[in-house]
């Protein structure tokens, strides 16, 4: 893909590009290391799309439903969520503290023919710049940050009036210890051992307190549960014991 080279030649040499493109292949391989995330992805995208369509009055069946919405994806990784949202028409900014992830994500977006504003930066830095978005996403990220209240406050600052903040994370319950740590890391080997530390998981009440402290109203919450028999994830509003998402909005 010549245009990929053109876009990155100035900052990265050829050997680096090969290394990044091998990593991009790894991020985007549906059978490799990130398979669990690929399995999980359609379920969370379906939720994001349906909530955004309801909130902003868009047609859920349209494949350009998010046209013109500005979205910030914090902790975007290789772009597994940023790309689908960009394909649906949103102007996506993807932020990740890892410069390697950002390079990988840029490379893949170029081969997908998508324009995404990827930045190797932190939520705090963007918030300090004063930029705001229609939607801020913090998906599977807060269980890795050191100060949740501070992080949520920074995220909330970037939500424009009338906009949304969606947070997805893991609950701190005996069940999540059994499933997300023992099950996913030690038994199923979905994730490398040490990916998560259970004590950093967040109870919904703690998250909701942080969101409200940031000046947002909670609009919806749902659990996401895995059915091992069907090998499928699905939304489950009654079970927030393991994976769950909370949607909050800033009043106009």
């Amino acid at each position: 893909m010549s245009n990929v080279n053109d876009a990155t030649r100035s900052t990265v040499d050829d050997a680096e590009i090969r290394r990044f493109s091998a990593m991009a292949d790894e991020w985007w391989s549906t059978t490799g290391k990130f398979r669990p995330l690929h399995k999980f992805n359609p379920t969370r995208i379906a939720y994001v799309k349906s909530q955004l369509c309801q909130h902003f009055g868009r047609d859920e069946r349209s494949s350009s439903a998010l046209d013109g919405l500005t979205i910030l994806d914090i902790g975007c990784g290789g772009g597994l969520l940023s790309e689908p949202l960009a394909r649906l028409g949103a102007s996506v900014t993807g932020a990740d503290a890892s410069a390697t992830n950002i390079e990988v994500a840029r490379l893949h977006a170029a081969s997908s023919g998508l324009t995404i504003d990827y930045r190797a930066t932190t939520a705090e830095a963007i918030a300090d710049s004063g930029q705001t978005f229609d939607v801020v996403l913090a998906m599977e990220i807060i269980e890795h940050v050191s100060d949740i209240d501070l992080f949520i406050r920074e995220c909330a600052r970037m939500v424009r009036p009338g906009g949304l903040l969606l947070v997805a994370t893991l609950n701190r319950t005996p069940k999540s210890f059994a499933l997300a740590i023992v099950g996913a890391e030690y038994i199923l080997r979905w994730l490398p051992v040490g990916t998560h530390s259970w004590h950093k998981f967040v109870k919904p009440s703690e998250l909701i307190d942080a969101l409200e402290a940031g000046g947002l109203n909670v609009l919806d919450q749902t659990g996401v549960s895995f059915n091992p028999l069907l090998d499928r994830w699905s939304l489950n509003p009654r079970d927030l014991d393991v994976n769950y998402m909370v949607l909050a909005g800033r009043v106009d």
Partner: protein, 411 residues
């Protein structure tokens, strides 16, 4: 014309054209192209006819192509199955399938292939499908984010997903390195059209003769109001080749020995062709940015008239999987998206391959104890209404896990 598409479909027959219509009907932002080495009008000269099951007809109604097919369509109101030897003056009827699966909806219609493809191609063009000038896909290469297809004309195209709908001898399947499980029956199906003196009243007949099934499928009357039927006449391949090379008189004599005289005088009204019959199942249906549909994925024995409907079920399932993925902003060429289609369809096709294979082995012989046994089996099926309803349901393509289009709904 642009050389970048979301989906390129190799094969402009009814499978490829139906898929193109289904995709554009559901989402007009999908850029779809159809390419075929044969010029479009060659399909119109296909003298064969196909049975469109009720579910497939519902899809065609939804896609807006049925009105153009309907005047040439003949409803199958009744189907009888017999087990007989050549020269049996009386053919005991073991199984009758009468009438509608729902009020006023026959379980199948016979539609001439040429008319079907013409209606689909016209609708595809109306829906904004790019129907490319005749060319073969001579090679393709999967790259990050796209497939590059090299055409026999030297042109090159790119797309997110390449679909092979290029028939049982699929060239693209071979290029993709997908292997098949093959079984040659040593049988060929002689296909032709006959005119007959008396009306068929929409009755289809399948006679299990020792050499294999002999099917009489009712066609709509021709422009002069003459009654017609389509024939699928199975013989050992060597015999079949001999039979189609007979002069008209001898051919008609051989035909009458099998057809019988219940519809009055017969007259052969179309070209006769013999098609070798085999079972061919693709081991994989998908690869990254590549999918098989229709006969390219499964060539089965025509004994139950299921090949086309099996292919249309592929189309309805693939279109639904792709459109749903697109609505989530997913990459429609990604393997995990395409695997949903494979999981949905592969077992059904395998099962149908096995069923038709078993039926054919059971019936294409003259071994007396087996004849007695299979006749008992057919007789039992005929006397058990619930089992029979399931058979009709299967034959009409309304089994479980139906894609939305086959229920007559939008994706």
């Amino acid at each position: 014309m642009s050389d970048r598409f979301d989906v390129i479909i190799a094969g402009g027959g009814y499978i490829g054209m139906t898929l193109a219509c289904a995709l554009r009907d559901a989402d007009e932002s999908i850029a779809v192209a159809v390419i075929d080495p044969r010029p479009m009008d060659s399909a119109l000269r296909d003298g064969r006819a196909s049975a469109i099951a009720a579910a497939a007809r519902r899809m065609y109604v939804h896609l807006g192509v049925w009105p153009e097919m309907e005047p040439a369509a003949q409803a199958i109101n009744e189907m009888i199955v017999t087990d007989s030897r050549l020269g049996d003056s009386l053919r005991p009827v073991y199984l009758t399938f009468a009438g509608a699966i729902r009020d006023g909806e026959p379980f199948a219609h016979m539609v001439p292939n040429g008319i079907m493809v013409k209606a689909l191609a016209r609708r595809a063009a109306d829906l904004g499908v790019a129907i490319l000038p005749p060319a073969a896909v001579s090679d393709f290469k999967v790259e990050p984010g796209e497939v590059k297809a090299q055409l026999s004309t030297g042109q090159s195209l790119s797309c997110r997903l390449l679909v092979a709908a290029d028939g049982v001898k699929s060239r693209l399947r071979a290029l993709a390195g997908i292997r098949t499980v093959d079984w040659d029956y040593g049988q060929s199906g002689i296909v032709t059209t006959v005119r007959h003196e008396r009306p068929h009243d929409g009755r289809a007949e399948e006679h299990f003769l020792p050499a294999g099934p002999f099917a009489i499928l009712p066609l709509a009357d021709d422009a002069e109001g003459r009654h017609r039927s389509s024939l699928v006449w199975t013989e050992r391949t060597k015999t079949a080749e001999k039979i189609i090379s007979f002069d008209d008189f001898t051919f008609r004599l051989e035909l009458e020995r099998r057809f019988g005289h219940h519809l009055g005088d017969l007259e052969v009204a179309g070209p006769r062709n013999a098609y070798p019959l085999g079972l061919k199942l693709a081991r994989d249906w998908v690869k990254p940015r590549f999918a098989l549909a229709g006969d390219a994925a499964h060539g089965i024995h025509p004994i139950a008239g299921q090949g086309l409907n099996l292919g249309l079920r592929d189309v309805a399932a693939l279109a639904q999987v792709l459109v749903e993925a697109r609505r989530l902003g997913l990459d429609i060429g990604a393997l995990d998206v395409l695997e949903r289609y494979q999981t949905w369809r592969r077992f059904d096709a395998f099962e149908m391959g096995v069923v038709t294979d078993t039926l054919n082995r059971l019936f294409s012989n003259d071994f007396t104890p087996l004849r007695a046994l299979r006749d008992l089996g057919l007789g039992i099926v005929d006397r058990l209404p619930s089992l029979k309803q399931r058979f009709i349901g299967e034959a009409a393509g309304s089994g479980g896990g139906l894609p939305r289009l086959l229920r007559g709904e939008a994706i």
